[in-house]
Amino acid sequence: MDNKNQFKPSNVIVGISFGYHDSSCCIMKDGELVAAVQEERFSRVKNDKSFPQQSLRYCLEVAQVTLDQVDCIAYYECPEKKLSRQIWMGIQKGASAHYKAKVAAQLTQPSPMDIIRQKTGYSGDIEIVEHHLSHAASTFYFSGFDEAAVLTVDGVGEWSTTSYGKGAHSKLELFEEVSFPDSIGLLYSTVTSYLGFKVNSGEYKVMGLAPYGKPRYAKQIRQLIELKDKGQFALNMKYFAFLQQECMYSEELIKLFNTPAREPESAILQFHKDIAKSLQVVLEEILLEKVRYLHEQVPSKNLCMAGGVALNCVANGRIKREGPFENLFVQPASGDAGTSLGAAAVVYQRRTSKRPSSEKLKSVLLGPEYDSTYIKNLLVSSNATFEDFSGNEEGLLNYVATQLADGKVIGWFQGRMEFGPRSLGARSILADPRGEEMRDKINALVKKRESFRPFAPAIMEDKVAPHFDLDTDSPFMLETCQVKSSLYLPAITHVDNSARVQTVNPNYENRFYKLLSHFNRITDCPILLNTSFNVRGEPIVCSPLDAIMCFVRAEIDFLVLEDFVLSQEMVPELWKVGVLNTPISKQSDEKSIGHAVYSFM
């Protein structure tokens, strides 16, 4: 009998975030980030917030450790501070009875630590890392900067909504914060909600809508927020209702714009585009001012950003171009999913006094992969017709590049899945960016979404110059830049001639790079349209089975699963029936019933 503990690696830290939005889990072994994934990818519940049990199991498997070998679980926010903010909201004058009841119920809820222990039986250490420190660490420790100023901006975590910090070597400290309810994230979400999009997920749509508008309402938007000394600002609460009601904005906001809020799914008018543009402009102004303030406090060349607001790549682009910092690093998973990374990094630093990683995060391919044998078995067991390119990568790439050049849409599934909200060539839908009709085809078929949103281009890293006005690499699609290509690229060019570019490096996204290169050989265009591999309302695909279902549902022309290619024309009828009967995203209440049940018992 062996006891595995004898061979235990030192310092296994698991980072976990759950309970609010987008649960995630990561694992760090001796300071090295080995795996990270969001629970929704496994559970198929969009934005799943439950304890990330499958993600944890996946992380342990990749790290080749068992649960008893974990030294510490790092949790991404302080429950007591969060409770304080919730209680504070409950004792506000005018707080709704409904909200008060929710707060009262919250008082007896099990703590996140209790949930971790109950769900997994884990009896080791659990450490708490504050929400904004988790955000800050998720960017600084993975930036590759030895020292940097750090800015985190989100809706709200515990009490903080914005924090200013400084990182040097292994040390990271936050020196100022802005407290709830004053929040740039909530300002953005409130207008998002006024524009008829979902809070917590529709914000990027507002950003996409902005270029179609004029900043006609910037003056009014500026009335919503007052800039103050140092890093501070304050919301003008008469325009916001989220402290008292189940609604983000107040009647005053409607009066201010002199227009009722847009009904979800109704027509988008010029007014809405103008509001979006005005909001974007004001957001950029505020961020630029606060970034300048931060630079005064921390006169570094480097800036690190994280938090939901840092996903606004248009603002990031301006901060980089017009702000006082030379270099900018934005955590690719800037939303709350990324906090598990930061929490783990902080705990690693606390326990070893060492910096978890001195290198810049090169790739977010930190999720599950499925080898060709597995996929082949799956395809053989099913009644699929497929092409097998095993051992013939050249043949595969030629075939796919030719289909792309012929106007076909490809579901592209290769290697480890991306961590964070963007598809970067591991779970992507690809198409030729040169056709006018490509954008409409994908919007209509695959995305079933608003047609105003453009797609992002992926380009060979060494071929950027003639096509985009971009001075550094952009592997995570976190900034926008101007398109200067001589090619006509309607499907990826925004109305203001900007694009959100992903530069593809041959070392980190090898096969994707090769595909771009093959496409370039045929077409003299080193660029592909790249969008996330999912349909509207569905988490990005994780497993080959998820990919097959999405491919069938969205009627994508070809599906490339590692070395194998399936064609839409060959999809068996029964698959269509089966997919039709499978929900796009499992609902949480369905989750509580489970999927392994007979429908008649």
Partner: protein
């Protein structure tokens, strides 16, 4: 200090206090005592408003006063009868037929149903034309019955039949509606699990009362007679998965109970039945009559002694004991408490009760019903359907025409051999999936083949579908199966999302095929090795529900369903299957614990493969990981069984009552089944 800061300070202090150990207790107490009001979740409310224009899935078309199936409910259609539509106005006599899956005629439906049998009997018997509208629904709950009854009020029925009572045991639902969780937890502390049983039964009784109120209001008070078919349970044919006494009563008595059990079983083996009954009495003192296992042993003794009445009562107690088995899914059943409560309630509306237990005894001379009339725990065989519908028709005829005819069940419609064959195959699948042993599964498989030898083809295709772990719609043989199989099987296959290695079922298929001279064993073995062999897969996860589950009621670690993300051993021996080529040694890697252990104390778990001991691993109170090498000599080609025998020392738990009280106070169903050990991960490579 500004207002905002004052509030903030207050909130900070309160949050700190609540988060502290004492604080959280205090808040809980304040809430439990009602001093601090927290809204409870919605309580069961049976009187939901029913729109006037529909009955079940059928909606009225205002233009021609005809009910047709509402497309928007098409997802639910498979749960109801295949009736396409009906007129609001009746022509002859009209009876409504409400109920659960038993009333649907599960396994025969939609080809052959109790409602059709009844309709044909009544048409022969009554002077007028008779129409029986089949509104029975698989899975019907109290709420379904109420809704259907209310929707059907305007159908001008001459009688309403309700064939239900199996689907009412849903512990957690009742728990949510307990007004006084604190009182229940203290009752539990004093009286043990019996208090919870009482509370659940009170909840059921309340629902029954409310249901009967609705029926009175909608039918009996309007002069529409009510016929209630009281279901029966397959007492001799159905075996519960082994049941242990609830952990909380047993606490320190658990080891003693296990000793007594061994003694009682030994005495029975030696033919000393009276002496065994004395030992059983002592077991009952320990388990409060709430352990099914004790009652099964008692039944065995009474049967040998020849005491039919005591035999039946012991089996009934075994059936009813599982009410407290909160860790497993229960198969539907009617308990003595439900029968009694329902009978009492129905007497106030002068309903006609057709008690199937009595009907089976009178018609077939079956004092204790078994596989003669059942296909599983509660669904009837065609004989069961014919006997019960004949008795019902006789009662209706008497009520309508005042005659006193005897209707022989032989005169009722019978299904054809093909339908019987398919029904028995489905019964075999269902029994296998709900934990019945190979004898039971083989019995139904062989019956299926006897009715129609060509069903072996279907069995072979099913074997392939189940052995490939992809969704059924992706399976190669599925389309062929859907082309060839009859409607019942098609419907079953397309709605079946439960997959497991299904060794019992496949073994049943192999045995049945042998009956008609076909050998499919080599095909099965090849399939198993090709799809599942550890050597082919590289690493094999023994906790994957596909492999650890041999029965649907045993599923654990099902995402979103299970409370824990680890495996709980609910019996002293845990069994897992794996497939191997049997050519080389395998390495077992396991992370496990036994929370019942005392801190710092470890004990050994015995590991066996195919009954042979292959080594021991140490377990303590917290997770620990061990590796064990299993020599090739213990491993055979094909399916192997790995068993873990949890340490006897770890059968005492003192903290369980406190834990359960806390869960009750939080309106959660407490964990009453004992847990002998836990496994977080277990792989073979």
């Amino acid at each position: 200090m500004t207002m905002i800061n004052q509030y903030r300070k207050l909130a900070d202090e309160l949050a700190r206090d609540v988060s502290s150990q004492n604080g959280s207790g205090l808040v809980k107490q304040l809430i439990q005592t009602g001093l601090l009001q927290v809204p409870t979740q919605a309580v069961n409310n049976l009187n939901r408003i029913q729109t006037e224009d529909r009955v079940g899935i059928w909606k009225i078309n205002a233009e021609n006063e005809e009910y047709v199936r509402d497309q928007s409910t098409s997802k639910d259609w498979p749960f109801w009868s295949a009736l396409a539509g009906f007129k609001k106005q009746k022509t002859g006599k009209r009876f409504l037929f409400l109920g659960e899956s038993v009333a649907r005629g599960m396994f025969y439906d939609p080809i052959y149903t109790p409602a059709k049998v009844l309709e044909s009997l009544l048409n022969t018997q009554l002077d007028e034309d008779v129409e029986v509208l089949d509104f029975a629904k698989t899975n019907a709950s109290f709420e379904t019955l109420v809704e259907v009854a209310q929707g059907a009020k305007c159908l001008d029925a001459d009688g309403v039949i309700i064939f239900a009572g199996n689907n009412w045991l849903k512990g957690e639902g009742y728990l949510k509606s307990f007004e006084d969780a604190l009182a229940l937890s203290s009752e539990y502390k004093e009286q043990g699990p019996a208090a919870i049983k009482d509370a659940i039964e009170r909840g059921i009784a309340k629902n029954i009362e409310s249901l009967v109120d609705t029926l009175e209001e909608t039918f009996t008070s309007q002069g529409v007679p009510l016929y209630w078919v009281l279901p029966e349970f397959n007492l001799t044919g159905w075996k519960e998965i082994t049941q242990y006494p609830p952990s909380s009563i047993a606490s320190t008595d658990q080891p003693l109970w296990h000793e007594l059990r061994d003694e009682a079983m030994q005495l029975i083996e030696q033919g000393q039945f009276e002496a065994s009954l004395d030992v059983i009495k002592k077991m009952e003192q320990g388990d409060g009559g709430l352990a099914a296992q004790t009652q099964y042993i008692a039944a065995q003794a009474y049967k040998q002694i020849g005491d039919d009445k005591a035999y039946k009562e012991a089996l009934e107690r075994a059936r009813d004991a599982v009410l407290l088995n909160t860790q497993m899914r229960l198969v539907p059943r009617i308990t003595n408490h439900i029968k009694q409560t329902l009978t009492t309630e129905l007497s106030r509306v002068e309903a006609h009760i057709i008690d199937l237990a009595k009907v089976f005894n009178d018609s077939l001379d079956l004092p204790v019903a078994g596989n003669e009339v059942f296909l599983d725990y509660c669904h009837l065989s065609s004989t069961g359907i014919r006997v019960s519908m004949a008795a019902l028709a006789q009662r209706i005829s008497h009520q309508v025409q005042g005659d006193d005819v005897h209707i022989a069940f032989e005169s009722a419609l019978a299904p054809c051999a093909d339908t019987e064959s398919s029904a028995h195959l489905l019964a075999a699948i269902h029994n296998a999936h709900w934990g019945q042993d190979i004898d039971c599964v083989e019995y139904y498989c062989k019956k299926a083949v006897q009715y129609n030898a060509s069903i072996v083809d279907t069995m072979t295709m099913l074997m392939e579908v189940q052995n490939v772990n992809v969704p059924t719609w992706m399976n190669k043989p599925t389309s062929e199966l859907l082309e060839k199989a009859c409607t019942q099987i098609q419907r079953y296959i397309t709605s079946m999302e439960f997959k497991c290695l299904d060794t019992t079922l496949c073994d049943g298929f192999v045995k049945a095929a042998q009956e008609v001279g076909q050998d499919i064993s080599a095909q099965l073995l090849e399939l198993q090795i090709q799809q599942h062999a550890v050597e082919v897969k590289g690493q094999h996860d023994l906790l994957d529900p596909y492999y650890h589950v041999d029965a649907f009621c045993n599923t654990q670690m099902v995402e979103g369903v299970s409370k824990f993300d680890y495996y709980n051993a609910l019996s002293p021996v845990s069994e897992f299957d794996f497939v191997s080529k049997g050519e080389r040694h395998l390495s077992l890697n396991i992370t496990c614990s036994s929370k019942l252990a005392n801190k710092g104390v470890t004990a050994a778990v015995q590991v066996k493969v195919n009954g042979e001991s292959v080594g021991k691993i140490e377990v303590g109170q917290t997770w620990s990981t061990a590796q064990l090498d299993i020599d090739a000599m213990y491993i055979r080609s094909g399916v192997n069984r790995l068993t873990l025998e949890w340490p006897e020392e770890h059968r005492i738990n003192t903290g369980v009552i406190e834990d359960n009280c806390a869960m009750l106070q939080a309106r959660q169903l407490p964990i009453l089944s004992p847990v002998f050990g836990e496994i977080y991960s277990m792989t073979l490579a």
